[in-house]
Symmetry: C2
Subunit: 310 residues, 2 copies
């Protein structure tokens, strides 16, 4: 397959998975209570839906779905696990946007959840999405084999928790409140926790669902790590380059805040070199898989991560 065809098919698959994720989130966040639930407060459910539906590239679901497809696994079970990972991503945005944290009034061009509702609701929406992500992941409908479900839960919790995403957010806030410039090493660690860990989980979850062997797990882990890092450097570069309209948030604000970014730590040229090197590493990690449509699409995801405009 030529690169041009791969890029086109990538965009198609990205759109297909985004639509399927949206439909699954819509179904999971419906009014009917599940066994063991009393009821779902209607206005609160609406706020959870506001925080999750109608936007985003759905990159985490895409990575999970496409990785599982490498092993011939697809369908509603994978989409449930993918929607759960997206819930974790969405909850983290809701809490990050709160006045006590990043104090962002806009998210994807719309009022952030605490502006559309209120702070108390936004805090609880985050808690609700975080909790529900584990419910959906642990439900037998996601995978018949309980060993797969328990492994998914463990990997998700570890990637999203104090030694991963939440810890990365802590380091980010600590960095922002410091006057000192940030070393590249510190920024790389911070980003690998804050953004990389959940992207890595998305890939590993696809491998767990696909019952990948140890060699495939290791290759996909390298892919997920390099991709996650590339994605975040690309974000830092976008912040410098992009205008407000394209991003739906105020561009250039990272610099205002002494945010820990690799552009600040390395300079723009070195940051771009690192981004492209990481994308190449991600692509190289997939070389153990048979060439063809599926692996080509995951490779294209690495190219997309660094070439995107928003």
């Amino acid at each position: 397959m030529t690169a041009a065809i791969a890029a086109e098919e990538f965009q198609e698959r990205l759109a297909v998975v985004a639509d399927a994720t949206e439909a699954m989130l819509d179904k999971l966040l419906s009014q009917a209570p599940l066994p063991g639930e009393t009821r779902r407060p209607p206005r609160f459910l609406e706020a959870m839906r506001y925080a999750c539906l109608g936007g985003g590239k759905r990159l985490r679901p895409f990575l999970m779905v496409e990785t599982a497809r490498l092993f011939g696994v697809e369908g509603d079970g994978v989409l449930r696990a993918a929607a759960a990972a997206e819930m974790i991503h969405c909850y983290s945005l809701v809490h990050d946007d709160l006045p006590a944290l990043d104090n962002d009034d806009l998210r994807r061009g719309r009022p952030s959840t605490h502006k559309a509702y209120d702070e108390a609701t936004a805090i609880l929406v985050g808690d609700g999405l975080l909790t529900y992500a584990f419910d959906v992941t642990a439900d037998p409908a996601t995978a018949a084999d309980p060993a797969i479900r328990a492994a998914l839960v463990l990997a998700l919790a570890r990637g999203a928790g104090l030694g991963g995403m939440v810890g990365g957010q802590v380091l980010d806030i600590e960095a922002e409140s410091s006057d000192k410039p940030h070393t590249a090493e510190a920024v790389i660690e911070l980003q690998s926790m804050k953004t990389g860990a959940l992207l890595h989980y998305a890939v590993m979850a696809g491998a767990i669902l696909g019952k990948a062997d140890a060699a495939a797990m290791a290759a996909l882990s390298r892919y997920g790590q390099a991709l996650g890092a590339a994605f975040q450097v690309a974000d830092d570069i976008l912040d410098v380059e992009a205008d407000e309209v394209a991003l739906g948030k105020r561009a250039g604000k990272d610099a205002e805040r002494n945010k820990a970014t690799l552009v600040a730590a390395l300079g723009l040229t070195a940051a771009r070199e690192r981004r492209d090197r990481l994308a190449a590493e991600a692509i190289a990690a997939l070389d153990q898989f048979p060439q063809g449509r599926k692996a080509a699409i995951l490779k294209e995801a690495a190219r997309f991560a660094v070439a995107r405009k928003s």
Copy 2:
């Protein structure tokens, strides 16, 4: 065993389980990162420890440990699951105390987490504890059988989520912002979600760890539900009766805020009658188990839930 001996042994066991839970929480919240974690930010870990260690009756761990003991299951696995349930309880207190929610500066006689640290840290401490509870529950060290771990995770998420604890907190806030008096039915539903669901989980987790059969599950579910409801009515009554010193928070403040309480909905006399009836129901649900030390202690827990002074 006479009632007096049961009460004494209950207090002993409550203290033993509280100490063991404290030790397990201390161990789980240690500095060393687990496989898959990058590192645990030290000040943040300290804040997580502040929110979890050094206080509380540890009623949820007690219920889980004693229920599992009915089936002859004890040890570190049960204590891990029990500590995880306690993390969920502690995270809910940290988030409930936030200025945007109940705005409580004191918790168990100490500054609440957002006062001892700051709001951003408190929000993330809650997120970290909530996530880590699922990590600990899903870890093979908690139970060798992945079916048990997946079942625990699902029951925990469902009890703690939008149709359980988080949903109950939402209803509580909605009730508080309303000027209308609250019906007893609405208060009972709210409390069964906000407090009852996690107490019920603690009992059910003991049954899951003990591989209880369907009849035992049903009896324990009735016990857990009645106990949880009795516990919360007792709380409402305590708020009216207790003085500030004994509770470590300002007593009588529920009434100031149009809080949804059963004392307000039913009056003090009817609330006391309901509390005692629920405790009797909880005790009756255990009659299917052989009389003896273990069942006697769980029955005593129901008596304690309604007779406690704080």
